[in-house]
């Protein structure tokens, strides 16, 4: 049987192309082989995109969850391997291609969502972070299939610092995500934040990383509206868009806080997910 003659749907082809890409970059495949216990997610809700979890009772009476997320399980998996043979550089790289179960924003029921993505965990260097960013750009290029694409990057750490003293943090964050300058002014948000949003300037750290991605320079934009959740991402955040797809198809960033929460104090993590269901979105005009 020649598998190459199989007629693949666009999102299936995209998933296979992405797996091929991640495999070639030295990432190992992670398969969520079982359901997690509900308690596992319950105390890590800050790190879930949607707070709603589909649960069921297992035959032994335990409350189980139908995976709302893959990242958490990967991080747990890494912890289980502690003390065992590790890569020499102390960095572990995984990729996945899974279905997750969530209630999308403004939807009225749970949906099955196809997600492919990578997670890079351990004693990360700047090079590791650059590599993941480059992989995000390559993923967008793969999925865009000839369409134009762009990756928005921002430093969530910088916003967190600037907002440290602010009272109405969550309202300011909402305005940042909506590029709502007039709203920020009414809220008396720090001047620096308004400047960052308007100018798309970046700090030295981010500049260094972007300069290393020369091949994709015109595809990267500094855009602070990519920062929306300071509980999850602590460093770089990024969001990918493809022309004609009405919402962001890729989202990711650095999430060292989760590792701290799970008892891995000296580790850092960066990763992203590609929402494969959006691959087939109708092209606009």
């Amino acid at each position: 049987m020649n598998l190459l003659n199989l007629k693949l749907r666009p999102e299936e082809r995209a998933a296979l192309n992405l797996r091929n890409l991640y495999e070639a970059c030295g990432y190992s495949f992670y398969r969520m082989s079982r359901f997690e216990e509900y308690d596992f997610y319950a105390d890590k809700k800050d790190f879930l995109t949607s707070k709603r979890i589909l649960t069921f009772t297992d035959i032994n009476g335990k409350l189980m969850a139908l995976r709302p997320d893959v990242t958490l399980s990967i991080i747990k998996h890494v912890r289980l391997q502690d003390g065992q043979v590790k890569n020499s550089d102390g960095v572990q790289k995984f990729y996945y291609d899974e279905k997750v179960y969530r209630v999308p924003k403004n939807a009225d029921s749970f949906r099955e969502i196809s997600q492919a993505g990578v997670e890079c965990v351990g004693r990360l260097s700047d090079e590791n972070i650059c590599e993941v960013l480059e992989l995000a750009l390559k993923s967008l290029e793969t999925v865009a299939d000839g369409r134009n694409f762009v990756l928005d990057i921002a430093n969530a750490g910088l916003i967190a610092e600037l907002l440290d003293e602010s009272k109405n943090k969550s309202e300011i964050l909402k305005c940042i995500a909506a590029k709502n300058i007039h709203g920020l002014k009414t809220l008396n948000a720090p001047e620096k934040i308004i400047n960052l949003l308007e100018s798309g300037e970046f700090d030295e750290e981010t500049a260094k990383i972007i300069n290393s991605l020369k091949n994709y320079k015109d595809k990267i934009k500094i855009d602070y509206s990519a920062v929306s959740n300071l509980n999850y991402y602590n460093g770089l955040v990024f969001r990918g868009f493809i022309e004609g797809v009405p919402e962001s198809i890729l989202s990711g960033g650095q999430y060292d806080g989760l590792l701290k929460l799970m008892g891995k104090k000296n580790s850092r993590a960066v990763g992203f997910a590609v929402y494969l269901d959006l691959v087939r979105s109708e092209k606009n005009d």
Binding site: N106, V150, A177, A178, N180, H182, F241, P246, N284
Partner: protein, 202 residues
């Protein structure tokens, strides 16, 4: 091609006039008729009328690249869009109103009639007050007068309607006006044109 969603009605006509005086004209759009879509080939733009409440839906889902929506509707629907400009048209306030002789009984659940259940819930959640939302589709003033609700959460422009029904504003919630919103993805790829529109409108 830039697609623009405008809210049917008075506010939309005001906003269209802003567009027209900025050089974005769609001949025939103000005529009374059943046509909903108007194209200006020279500008490579298309403009359409939708129900005011639906503007954020069209923009969030990318059917419209940009749109004009009242802040009330944005607060109620909380769409994931860019809010790029205060169009400074249709100024009014979101407020709580009650009968002139209303005294709140804090031991009872407050009955709130409104067309904006989410705004009402968020406002009272912020105060830690338990409420019973009574969703209505208009003639809100009737609710406290007939005893259907204790208070209403509604848009107040001049306050005349409230006064005529012996009601008055007891709490302020938010300042409202029309806002220019944009689809996040469209802004990435048609940003130059959208920014030009914003510049001319502001």
């Amino acid at each position: 091609m830039i697609n623009i969603a405008l809210p049917k009605g008075r506010l939309g006509e005001k906003v269209y006039k802003l567009f027209a005086s900025a050089g974005y004209e769609f001949p025939g759009i103000l005529d009374k008729g059943r046509r909903l879509v108007f194209e200006n080939e020279k500008l490579n733009m298309r403009c359409f009328w939708v129900k005011p409440f639906d503007v954020p839906v069209y923009v969030e889902r990318g059917t419209a690249d940009i749109g004009a929506a009242g802040k009330d509707i944005l607060l109620e629907r909380n769409p994931d869009v860019y809010e790029l400009l205060d169009l400074k048209a249709g100024f009014c306030r979101m407020a709580v109103a009650a009968k002139n002789d209303f005294h709140e009984d804090s031991e009872k659940i407050l009955r709130v009639a409104t067309e904006f259940p989410n705004i009402a819930r968020n406002y009272y959640a912020g105060l830690g007050r338990e409420i019973d939302v009574i969703p209505l589709r208009g003639s809100l003033e009737l609710a406290p007068v007939l005893g259907l609700s204790d208070v209403i959460v509604d848009i107040v422009e001049t306050g005349t309607t409230l006064r005529e029904n012996n009601l008055s504003v007891i709490n302020f919630i938010a300042d409202l006006s029309a806002r220019l919103i944009a689809n996040k993805s469209a802004y990435k790829f048609k940003g130059e044109i959208i920014n030009e529109i914003i510049k001319k409108l502001s």
